[in-house]
Subunit: 567 residues, 2 copies
């Protein structure tokens, strides 16, 4: 009888347990969870804080009892595994309530310990008004702190998924919120110019966004306890009353009532490394494509491990729920003899930021540059569905591909509608090894409420193929900074658009529809850098000019990309 | 100088003209359009009738003037090409206003005549209250008829895209509506059990849906003209006052104030066939993969042509806007020397039916059967995004794949949220040649507002792979009709679900969570056909039983699929 011991009862661990039972009725399966809950909706925590999910109970997807009756899994909560004893194939478990310790034998051990919030070494961080968010007790503590301290201002440090979601949750509760981010952008899986749309949205919503700003010190100022028997306050709550004085890297100070630390997560590897399991170069547990650690009886899944990047094959840390769930399921397959292999990670991800969604898959431009991988990129901005049907919103899409093979390297999108769909399509296309040429031909659902006869996906492929075939020479927004004397800028939009949207300093304005008559106003001995609002009319203008002997480049993604990248 | 003549100024024709100009500034491009409008939003017509698009002008995307100034295309509306004279490479054009005729020479001719509504030979159909919907004048006529006749009841014949959209539009205007459909289902690109969800929605909205019912005769009863000078009625309007008496194939008669004929479309091939161009077996214009007809100087695109089915390679008629647009663009590429080829047609399509969307790609089961193509199918029903986040709706998905290769043959989905996304993903996966094994690994956007850690796509692939690997033996809803004495039905849902949802007659009920204790109530010498609500718990139950020596099959898609298929 196979005995499987699982450490960690959330995404990867719970998936492994359920799948293992489906594959074997005889196996003994024990799942240890350090905290009080298993299989809770960790991605839902900010939405309960913000009020979108009013019922806390909805976040508790399974209980030890339901897991027992459905899957005959022996779930032991409040049970921390404190050591792995590889030679005798046991783990040492400490009961978090009684403090008792005992050993449990395993044939196979599955590590699904997750990743813990990184808490930087900032003076004064340890105080009752500073929290991070990983699990249900963390969530409860944050809500308790908000309510007991009647927080009027909150500060979130870190503009990643959790930081952005917490920013929105707090703002939604009517709490004035500051978001501090050390980098020059939030949502680092995307590139800065795409994150620019998010910056704009955050500012428009009234959040105090501070990029390029670090938190350097925290001072907790507790107030005198004020008993409020009517409100049901007890002693434990009263110490929360107070505020924090924050010092920032800019030298500024600010006062806040609640501090959320969300600068990132770090794989939980102490158990694994104490047991002598090999860690990878990025600090995660190293596994093979079957999720096997350096000990063949021990597997590891989820946020604690390193997987291989889909494009480069390099080890990466990708703390996302989807991969964790599939890895957990796959480990059970492997233990029971199926020849399954994990197929690398694209890191497809999405984040809701107020009315916007921002999503990405594959490599971003920053990483392509770092890895010295040749790439070309296109930007398109087009409506999420037929523009004449109500509710259409702009989809801003960035697609990166290999100039030699035409294969998709990565994609990012941002907008208010249809963002998940476009990145999902490109994630599947990338995984399938599609080229931009093949992407032109994809047949997507079209009816006015859902799409366009030429979807943004087709359009991005058309633009990319125009560049790859040499029909259009591209210029990018970051190349407009220092024009040579042999270059001029031509804005082919209508004058009304220039007034409404702004324009690039020094550009000549000839609307595309007048270009044929006014072409001789342009010099033939200079390179003409053409732009319109999103790139379509620029393309039309470049073609006209090329056919008449002018040298042109088209600003990819047009003024819309240029402008957002300047912010 | 190349001279290109285009017949038809909507999707395919307009795309060809615009692309041709981008590829050549020197070409002479003439576009003939029989009607008064070019490049109008034909897919938007029902939504103006229904009121979703209040401004008629939004449907007019381009004008002859805008096409002239942007693309230097000589657009001639109200100009019907009445003959193609292949030997001298001219077309004969009749001016619809003056009646004058003239010839115009071409180097290349592009046919984009579209498809016309099929008007069956039913006695009495020719009357002022009977309309079909193809273009702006048709739309105007329908609105005029509704308003002048103060239509209180309307009848739509045909449950395809236009029929369904017109049904909704009329219903939305407060007009009591009957939908007649000869087949046993609407939306024939999908299979009947998937269309069942649409039938349910149509009935719930209060539309009088009559499947398996044909219109056999129409009698127009005009009333006495009632002058209403205040309402601005003129003579032309007054003859509309009246009603129609419809006779149905069931022998019933019914009275209606407006009749919309939407039983399908037929490729407009008379010009082509009169000119001796080869037609294909389905009655469309035959073209090669570069859209070239049997005359190398003549190309054809859009609803008038036959393309090759993605799976079978057989000629098919696919009157959809997306293919028409891409074909139009491609013809210009081919004329100007690019080696582009049309990559077959999957027929990806979607229709909004009140709050539902129903969509499909690739082959459906009916066609797979007809073509004797081996297939297996799975059904999954799961939430459009994390169930604990507000707004999640059931996605009902059907996936068909080749049992030998595992390749995707087709897919259908229906539900209130995320339907377009799922079919788009599967359309791309099918086009890329992905197998169900590869589909397990796709990484899709996940955050609670947008998806699930195990998306419906992954789940469908998991179920399919469980079947393909032999871990689960499937049984389908249509196989439950005549059980042998060696089979029994086991319902593993909770008793409360049976009360609320109903159950299959004769099934034993043992909830999955009690199955381990009560397993010995089941006979080992019979095949146990297990079902739950959607198939997940059935899978768990089958595994338990199999491991204990029982023979089982799991009802794919569970009771939800079974029940909708019975309707």
């Amino acid at each position: 009888m196979t005995k499987i011991v699982i450490i960690g009862g959330v995404a990867g661990g719970a998936s492994a347990a359920a799948r293992a039972r489906r594959l074997s009725e005889d196996a003994q399966i024990i799942m240890f969870e350090r905290g009080p809950f298993i299989s809770f909706a960790n991605c839902g925590l900010p939405y309960h804080i913000g009020g979108d999910i009013p019922e806390r109970s909805k976040l508790l997807l399974q209980t030890p009892e339901s897991f027992k009756s459905r899957f005959d899994v022996d779930v032991r909560v409040m049970s921390e595994v404190i050591a792995i004893n590889r030679t005798d194939k046991t783990v040492t478990v400490r009961n978090g309530l009684s403090g008792d310790e005992y050993d449990e034998q395993y044939d196979y051990l599955i590590l699904s310990p997750g990743a813990a919030p990184i808490i930087p070494e900032i003076p004064g961080l340890s105080n009752p008004l500073t929290h991070s968010l990983r699990n249900i007790p963390d969530m409860d503590n944050i809500i308790y702190a908000i309510e007991m301290n009647q927080a009027a201002h909150a500060t979130v440090v870190g503009g990643g998924f959790i930081g952005l979601e917490m920013m929105e949750a707090l703002h939604q509760r009517g709490i004035k919120t500051t978001l501090l981010e050390l980098a020059d952008q939030v949502m680092t899986p995307t590139d800065p110019e795409m994150a620019g749309f998010v910056h704009q949205e955050i500012l428009e919503q009234g959040v105090d966004l501070r990029l390029g700003t670090a938190l350097t010190a925290v001072e907790y100022n507790g107030r005198e306890p004020v008993a409020s028997v009517d409100a049901g306050e007890d002693d434990s709550g009263q110490h929360l009353l107070g505020h924090l004085q924050l010092t920032l890297s800019t030298g500024e100070t600010m006062q806040t009532d609640l501090l959320i630390m969300a600068i990132g997560v770090r794989p939980e590897t102490s158990l694994a490394s104490d047991a002598g399991l090999t860690l990878g170069p990025r600090g995660g547990i190293q596994v093979d494509t079957q999720m096997r650690t350096s000990d063949p009886a021990i597997f590891a899944v989820g946020d604690a491990i390193e997987t291989l990047d889909f494009v480069t094959g390099d080890p990466v840390l990708v703390p996302l729920a989807g991969p964790a769930n599939r890895q957990g399921r796959m480990v059970a397959d492997v233990i029971f003899g199926k020849d399954e292999h994990y197929q690398r990670t694209q890191g497809t991800a999405i984040c809701k930021v107020f009315d916007l969604a921002i999503a990405s898959t594959g490599m971003n431009e920053k990483r392509l540059k770092q890895a010295h991988i040749p790439y070309e990129k296109v930007y398109v901005h087009t409506a999420s569905h037929a523009g004449y049907y109500p509710g259409a919103e702009a989809v801003s899409l960035k697609l990166m591909y290999a100039p030699d093979s035409g294969k998709i390297l990565g994609a990012q999108a941002v907008g208010k509608d249809g963002i998940d769909k476009r990145i999902d399509i490109l994630a599947v296309a990338q995984r399938a090894g599609m080229t931009i040429e093949q992407l032109q031909h994809v047949e997507l659902c079209y009816a006015p409420p859902y799409g366009s006869a030429k979807d943004v996906i087709n359009q991005a492929a058309f633009v990319a193929c125009n560049i790859r075939s040499g029909d259009i020479r591209p210029v990018h927004y970051h190349e407009l900074g220092d024009l040579s004397e042999h270059q001029i800028l031509l804005d082919v939009r209508n004058p009304g658009e220039l007034d409404a949207q702004g324009a690039i300093l020094g550009a000549i304005n000839i609307p595309v529809d007048s270009l044929r008559e006014r072409m001789d106003e342009l010099p033939k001995d200079k390179e003409i850098l053409v732009y319109c609002q999103v790139g379509l009319r620029g393309n039309v203008a470049c073609r006209q000019l090329n056919h008449r002997g002018y040298t042109t480049k088209n600003l990819v993604g047009g003024y819309r990309t240029y402008r957002i990248a300047q912010q």
